[in-house]
Point group: C2
Chain length 393, copies 2
C-alpha cells in the first residue's frame, strides 16, 4: 500500500433541474463576470444555454460566451478564450458541456492565472501556480473532468495531444443533472461508459499498492456502470441508469478509485491518445479498441489483478487455472464492449493504419513517457507498444 493524497474540493449538486442553481453557485464561489464556454450546437439547440443565461440575467451576473470546443479540444481556441477573458475582465469560468468544454476551460483558466504560454504546462516545461475558478454544468458522462485535476489539449501543429494535471484545475462546483444526458446518441453514451470504466480500470490493473477498500469500491463502480450501460442501450431515457452512470463518471476519475495504489497503469489511455492524435476517433471507442490487445499482452505479469477483475467485476466462474480465469475475464469484457456496440480492434473502430502508422504511433507514445517506458501491470517500451498496436488491427 502506498501513501496517498485525496483532494476533491468540487461541490457537486446532483439531480433534476439543478442547472437552475447556477447563479447561486457562481455567487457562492465569488464569480461576478463569467466566460460561458461550450462546445457544439447541442447546448444551444437544446435550450440549455438559454436557460443558463436567463438564470444569470435574473441574478444580475454578466457574462460573455465562447462556443466551439471540439473533442480533443484545440490550443487555438484556448488562446482565443484567454484573450477574450482578459479583454472582458472575466473572473470566473463556466463550462457547459462535456470533457471538451471543461478541459478547454481549464486550459483557459491556467492561461489567465499564469504568465507566459499556457502550452508550457502541457509540454511538461513548468507547473501552473494557479487557475481561474471554474464551474461546470455537465451534459455528457464520460471524462470525469468535472471533478478531476486533469485536462487534455491538442496542439494543432503536429497534432500533439497532451494532458496536464494540477489540483488548481479542479472545478469549484459541478452541476450534474442526469436528464441533460438523455438525448445523447447511443454511440456517445457507450463511449462515455467505456471511458468511465477505463478511468477506474487504469487505476485497478497495477503491480503496486492496492487497498482492499479501494478495490471493493472500484469493483462496485465497474459492475454498476456495466449493468447500467446495458440498461441504457435499450432504454436511453432511463433516469436512474443515467444517474448511476453520471455519478460513476465523476467518482471514477476524482482519485477515489486509486487511493493506495502506485498511480495506476494508464497505458491504454496513452496508446489511445496517439490514435486520437492521428485519426478522428471517439476517445471511448478508441479505448475499447485497444484494451483487449493491451490486456492480453500484459495479463501474465499482473495475474492476481486480472483474476480478481474476472471474478469480482465480470463475475466469471471461479474454475480453472488463474490464467484461464484471467483470460475469461478479458473475453467477458470484450463481449461487454460488443454488447454496447463498442469496437474491440482498430478495424471495428473504422480505421486501417499502415504498419508505418503503427510504428509512428509507438514512437510518439514512447517519446511522451519518461525514459520511453510506461505502465504498471507490465512495463512497456516502444517495441511492446508496437506489438500491442499490431495485435489490435
Amino acid at each position: 500500500m502506498f501513501d496517498f493524497k485525496y483532494y476533491t474540493p468540487t461541490k457537486v449538486v446532483f439531480g433534476k433541474n439543478t442547472e437552475s442553481r447556477v447563479a447561486e453557485l457562481v455567487k457562492e464561489f465569488g464569480g461576478t463576470k463569467l466566460l460561458i464556454h461550450y462546445g457544439g450546437g447541442s447546448v444551444v439547440r437544446s435550450g440549455l444555454l438559454k436557460r443558463v443565461t436567463d438564470t444569470l440575467d435574473a441574478a444580475g451576473i454578466s457574462y460573455v460566451t465562447l462556443g466551439g470546443a471540439v473533442p480533443n479540444p484545440h490550443l487555438g481556441l484556448v488562446y482565443e478564450g484567454i484573450e477574450l477573458c482578459r479583454k472582458e475582465k472575466v473572473d470566473f469560468l463556466l463550462a457547459v458541456g462535456g470533457g471538451s468544454a471543461i478541459d478547454s476551460a481549464k486550459a483557459i483558466g491556467y492561461g489567465l492565472a499564469n504568465e507566459g504560454d499556457v502550452w508550457d504546462f502541457y509540454d511538461y516545461k513548468r507547473k501552473a501556480e494557479g487557475c481561474m475558478p471554474l464551474g461546470v454544468i455537465l451534459t455528457i458522462a464520460a471524462t470525469g473532468s468535472e471533478m478531476s485535476d486533469s485536462s487534455v489539449i491538442t496542439k494543432e501543429e503536429g497534432l500533439v495531444k497532451r494532458g496536464y494535471s494540477s489540483d488548481f484545475g479542479r472545478p469549484r462546483f459541478a452541476i450534474l443533472n442526469p436528464e441533460l444526458t438523455m438525448t445523447l446518441p447511443d454511440y456517445q453514451t457507450a463511449c462515455g461508459c467505456t471511458d468511465i470504466m477505463m478511468h477506474t480500470m487504469e487505476r485497478y490493473f497495477t503491480n503496486g499498492g492496492n487497498m482492499e477498500l479501494t478495490d471493493s469500491m472500484a469493483e462496485g463502480l465497474l459492475r454498476t456502470v456495466k449493468k447500467n450501460a446495458l440498461i441504457l442501450k435499450n432504454d436511453p431515457k432511463n433516469y436512474d441508469a443515467r444517474a448511476e452512470v453520471m455519478w460513476a463518471g465523476s467518482l471514477a476519475h476524482n482519485g477515489l478509485t486509486g487511493c493506495g495504489n502506485d498511480g495506476g497503469d494508464w497505458m491504454t489511455h496513452k496508446l489511445e491518445h496517439e490514435l486520437g492524435g492521428l485519426y478522428d476517433v471517439a476517445h471511448g471507442a478508441g479505448l475499447a479498441a485497444i484494451w483487449g490487445s493491451w490486456a492480453r499482452y500484459v495479463y501474465k505479469n499482473c495475474l492476481h489483478r486480472f483474476k480478481r477483475f474476472a471474478l469480482n467485476v465480470m463475475e466469471v466462474e471461479d474454475r480453472g487455472s488463474d490464467e484461464e480465469i484471467a483470460l475469461c475475464g478479458i473475453e467477458a469484457m470484450e463481449d461487454f464492449y460488443r454488447s454496447i456496440d463498442m469496437p474491440t480492434n482498430l478495424r471495428e473502430l473504422g480505421i486501417k493504419p499502415t504498419d508505418e502508422d503503427l510504428v509512428l504511433m509507438a514512437k510518439k507514445c514512447a517519446a511522451g513517457l519518461s525514459g520511453g517506458v510506461g505502465g504498471s501491470a507490465r512495463k512497456l517500451d516502444e517495441a511492446a507498444m508496437l506489438a500491442i498496436y499490431r495485435a489490435s488491427i
Copy 2:
C-alpha cells in the same frame, strides 16, 4: 433516487509519518497562529504533540495549546477555547486526536466565527455563518469527524448531547497516519470499527432513494471494515489493516455512502446518544448494544434492504424466505460484534438502567426529534423507542 449534494473539500494526506507535513499544510490554508486542541494525555505521552510543535517551531508558526477534550466533549471546554483563541488572536485551529478533540475544535471554530452563544447552533436555534479554518491530525479511526460536516457537544447542565452539521465545519486538511492508531487499546479499536460501520449502515437502511453505485460502495466498505476489524483483533499492529479501517472511517461519514438516499435512518445513533448522555459508555459500544434490538424492531418494514445487507455484507446463504435471510443477516452482525468483544445488549455494555431510566431516555430521544418521530427504515415514535430500549436490556 433523491437529488443530493456532495461536498468534501478536506485535503487528505494519508500515510506513514504524514504528521511531519503539518506546518506545510497549515501554511497552505493560511494559518499563522494556531490553537492546538487535544484530548487526554496519550497525545503527550506518545510524543506526538512534541513532534507536531517541533515541526511548527521549525517553520516559525506560533501556537497555543488546549488539552482536555473528553469523549462526549463538554461545552465548558469549548467556551474556554473560544476565550483563549480570542485573547491569543488565533486564526487557525489544529485538532490532534480523535472525534472528541475534532468536534470540540469545530465548536470552538463556530464560536469564533459567529456572534452570540455557540450552543445556539447545537440547540437548533440558529445556523452558523462560518467557522474558523480547522486542520486535523487523527489518532483514532472512528467518528469520521475529520471529513464530516458534523460535531457533537454535550452541555454539562442536564447532560444534553447535541449534534450540529454545517459544511463550514468540514476540516481544511486531515493528516491520516495509520501508525498513530496502532497503540489503541483493543476495546477502542473495536468501538471505532463499530462506529465506522454504523455511519454507513445508518445511510444504508432506508426506505427512500438508494443508488446502485452508492450501495455497492457502501457494501464494499462494510465488508472491508468487518474483515479488518477481525484482523486487528489478533494483530493490532498490522499496518495495512489499520490503514483500511482509517480510510474507511473517513469515507463512511463524509457523505459518499449516502448519495441518492433520503438522508438515512440514524435512529441507532439517536437512541445511543441518550445512553451516552446518562451513562459513561463508549459511543461505539453503545451503538453495538442497541443495534440488534433496533434491527429486529424495524426489519420487516425495510425487508429489501435487510435482505440485501444479509447477502452482500454479511454474506449469508441465499436460502429461505426474505424474512429468514434478513434475520440471518442480523444474527451474523451480532455474531460479528461478539467476535470483536462488542456488546449486543445493555447488560453486556455494563449498564443496568431501571425502567424509569428507559422511559426517560425514550422521552428525551423523542423530544430531540422534529414532531417526536424519526427514522427511515421504520418511523419510530416515543413508544417505539421505549420498546427498543426495553428489548435491549
